[in-house]
């Protein structure tokens, strides 16, 4: 990050290589797998990184810093999409009902069902869940990012995990991860 701030493009390219996929997928999951929106948000995030390279505190973890920016961006989006969110919830129930009827395990379907299930979640819980199980953030880091206590983060994660497991109970998940 220091080298990138000094204008060395290769350093920035390395940052992009490491984090672009993660951030893009984070935005995808946080935004109902909307690829266009995820792409825009990823670009905006990297622009923020470029513009605020000099402001970055090198004592802090870069990954935490990047995801905190991403999380704040998602929060701002959710604030403006309350109405859409309600509509998505209604749609998620319908999809969930449809998924229950399907007995065979289909990756794409699971993905869709997972997306819809995630969309039913509260944004803070969703982001905490994604960061914890997708991006290997520690409880402490998530607590810093969400500005909450570690106990609160644990409770949120446990509740979210149980809710999602129940929602996607019909899928034979054992086969998927064993494959």
């Amino acid at each position: 990050m220091v080298l990138s701030g000094e204008g060395k493009k290769k350093a920035f390219e390395e940052i992009y290589r490491r984090y672009s996929g993660r951030i893009y997928n984070y935005f995808l999951k946080m935004n109902r797998y909307d690829e266009v929106k995820a792409q825009d948000l990823t670009q905006d995030l990297f622009l923020k990184i470029i513009q605020s390279q000099k402001d970055f505190d090198h004592n802090k973890n870069f990954k935490t810093w990047v995801f905190s920016i991403a999380n704040n961006m998602c929060k701002n989006i959710y604030r403006h999409e309350e109405v859409v969110k309600k509509a998505d919830r209604e749609m998620a129930y319908t999809l969930n009902a449809t998924a229950k009827m399907e007995t065979s395990m289909d990756k794409s379907r699971f993905k869709k069902a997972l997306a819809e299930a995630l969309n039913t979640l509260d944004p803070v819980k969703k982001s905490s869940f994604i960061m914890r199980y997708k991006h290997d953030f520690s409880i402490k880091e998530i607590a810093e990012l969400t500005k909450a206590s570690e106990g609160t983060v644990k409770s949120r994660l446990f509740y979210t995990l149980r809710q999602l497991t129940v929602s996607l109970k019909e899928f034979d998940l054992r086969e998927s991860h064993e494959k």
Binding site: G7, K9, F12, E13, Y16, S20, G21, R22, Y24, N25, L28, E35, A38, Q39, T42, Q43, F46, L47, I50, Q51, K107, F110, K111, L114, R132, Y133, K134, I139, K154, S155, L157, F158, Y159, L161, R162, L164, T165, L168, K169, F171, L173, R174, S176, H177
Partner: protein, 296 residues
């Protein structure tokens, strides 16, 4: 729901079989059954192993372009006039610079603003001064001419009176007699000569000279005189001579010519012209004398 046993961490790391007895007891207590834990574990693994979407290539290009643009901007080396972060307005040097610039501006602009009047005053002054300086010269010139003419008159009258046998008392009559006896042409010429100012009326001189072309004036005498540093004085003297010579010619009498040439010589001596100019004039006068004598 309280979670004091870190089940969310165990789910991500271990299968139910890998848990310790204490952990198994805790899990069964919290979740109810082993299957609930296994389902949760399977879901977490499926979520973690979910295929990641690749970021679009076009997005990469856009971001790199943005980085290049930003980097180009940042490479511009700007030398700051003061250290960044300091409040410039609190620096006494700033106030000093501002005051100095204002003073400089005032000193530069004020002369320009008052220049619209002063040059005219200067011109007026200079013209007045020139007039003042020129006036005495012209006065001197005219005085010298009148004196010369007066002396010519007096000499002529004296000589004529002597030749005619008049006494001093009756000299005054000579002038009137001469004037009475003179023809109208001579009178006019005398008047012209009196009113003539060499410096002010060069055209008049030319006219008179053209009228009196029959009077020989040594043309080559002036050529013998080489131009000296005192040209101005010489010209002045020559002009005086020119007038006197015409006066002499207008008398058109042998005696008059003789007397006038004598008086001219005196006049030249009296004038400011010295050395070169004087020599030149004397040459000219001598030439005049010779010519007049030969003419008569």
């Amino acid at each position: 729901m309280k979670n004091n046993h870190n089940i969310e961490e165990l789910v991500a790391e271990k299968d139910f079989d890998q848990l310790s007895d204490t952990q198994k007891e805790m899990v069964i207590k919290e979740l109810g059954t082993e299957e609930a834990y296994t389902e949760m574990r399977n879901f977490v693994l499926a979520f973690q192993n979910e295929d990641e979407e690749q970021a679009p290539a076009e997005m990469r290009q856009n971001i790199m372009d943005a980085y290049d643009k930003q980097h180009k901007k940042s490479t511009k080396k700007i030398i700051p006039l003061w250290k960044p972060g300091k409040n410039v307005l609190k620096q006494p040097l700033t106030y000093a610079l501002v005051a100095a610039s204002v003073l400089i501006a005032v000193f530069i602009l004020l002369p320009y603003s008052s220049n619209n009047i002063k040059p005219q005053l200067a011109e007026n002054k200079s013209k007045k001064e020139i007039n003042k300086e020129e006036t005495p010269k012209t006065e001197k010139k005219s005085n010298a001419q009148t004196e010369a003419l007066q002396s010519i008159k007096e000499d002529t009258i004296d000589k004529n009176a002597n030749s005619l046998g008049y006494t001093d008392r009756s000299k005054t009559r000579v002038e009137s007699d001469l004037l009475e006896n003179a023809d109208s042409e001579d009178r006019e010429m005398v008047k012209d000569a009196e009113s003539l100012s060499v410096a002010d009326k060069p055209e008049e001189i030319n006219r008179l000279e053209s009228e009196n072309q029959n009077i020989p004036v040594a043309p080559n005498t002036m050529e013998q005189v080489e131009p000296s540093a005192d040209n101005e004085r010489m010209d002045q003297a020559v002009d005086n001579v020119g007038v006197s010579a015409m006066d002499v010619s207008r008398l058109s009498k042998k005696e008059r010519v003789q007397s006038s040439t004598n008086s001219l010589a005196q006049e030249i001596e009296l004038s400011d012209a010295k050395s070169d100019s004087g020599n030149a004039l004397s040459f000219r006068v001598l030439a005049l004398e010779e010519d007049h004598y030969t003419a008569y």
